[in-house]
Symmetry: C2
Subunit: 226 residues, 2 copies
């Protein structure tokens, strides 16, 4: 991975993003954070309404230093966020199960990002650019593939964004770490890697005859694979 | 799936778990909720500290009507939750990408659970039973496989639980739903299913020679598969 030491996110930008424990897992490097965000299609957005915590899973994408997510204008999450409320944006990849020689040292391999910021609505004039980026990130060419939104559909689409100012990554990879004495135990230890795979495309049963899947569907691959 | 109409979760148990939109996706049936929780190894727990939202990914498990998660005694999340603070517990499975004939109708197939409750510490006397349930849920026989925790390790292990009183599930599956007029478009539509798979086990490079992976590792399968 490209190490950019002058990256603005190379140091924890605030007290709450500095990892209090497992600081040896901390990686504040901007490219790492971006790569974890970009290789996930689902994020979890936390926010507060009347003092109570809410977490909403949704689809996200990133343009430069902003993460974006969207949904219907009518959803509870977006109503609350239209006021520019503070949110906690998180992405998690589960990469494996780590079996140790001691129950206490079982673990998981993972990559996660936690980012704090203020959610804001994307203005009308920027909605098209940002949704185009979203669909083309899912599959290059997808935006042009489908019918463009009508005026009514645009009105029903609200897009939220948040600047990645306070972000940190946390990662674990590799074999188990056991206590020194435990390595002599007669106990298997290792990792079962987990991976998200894309299965072959399934055409809509209502698809008209003679319509072939486009190249970007036939060649579909998951971001961050390999 | 077993439909139990008298299930306590068969109706939305509170206003905030009733889905405000997409109510046609709502499924308040207890078995559905449990199955979504049980087939995930990672959850996201949302909570509030000093009015600000936090979301922490962690591993969870379920015993009857409680979800459990754990971590070090020192973590920020557990410190905040030791006071019995309100949390929002969520689990999300991404099952596929849904390509429609109209950009507005692109979607994802997913299964998610949102549950509200008060987090509480699990008492010392119940810690063993609950951790045993956790490891055996990951792989049957895992608890007995590894060295049992020492007194010091037990002390460093805090387990949190929350009763599933206010829980709801939200699901989408199947092909895209397009506007009637769009079905005549010369545009491919369908689904790319996504799936989490377990790859073959990788032994710890520091494993002593002659130690074979146990049956529960060789036969490992992901919960909720198939």
């Amino acid at each position: 991975m490209d190490q950019t030491t002058e990256s603005p996110a190379a140091q924890p930008p605030s007290e709450r993003t500095r990892l209090k424990r497992y600081h040896w897992l901390g990686d504040y490097e901007k490219n790492t954070i971006n790569s974890i965000i970009d290789s996930a299609l689902v994020c979890q957005v936390g926010y507060v309404i009347d003092g109570a915590p809410y977490v909403t899973p949704t689809n996200h994408w990133r343009i430069d230093d902003y993460v974006y997510w969207h949904g219907s204008s009518a959803s509870r999450m977006l109503k609350a966020q239209s006021k520019g409320i503070p949110v906690c944006f998180t992405v998690t990849h589960l990469d494996g199960i780590v079996f140790a020689r001691a129950a206490f040292n079982h673990n998981v391999n993972f990559r996660s990002v936690m980012a704090f910021g203020n959610a804001e609505f994307v203005e009308e004039e920027d909605k098209r650019r940002s949704l185009e980026a979203f669909t083309d990130r899912v599959a290059q060419g997808l935006w042009q593939h489908a019918r463009q939104p009508t005026e009514k559909e645009w009105k029903a689409t609200r897009i939220i964004r948040m600047r990645l100012d306070e972000a940190s990554a946390k990662l674990r990879s590799g074999p188990p770490i056991d206590d020194e004495d435990d390595y002599k135990l007669d106990c298997w230890a290792g990792v079962i890697p987990l991976k998200v795979v894309a299965l072959p495309p399934e055409s809509d049963p209502n698809l008209r005859e003679g319509i072939e899947a486009p190249k970007f569907i036939r060649d579909f691959f998951l971001w961050g694979e390999g």
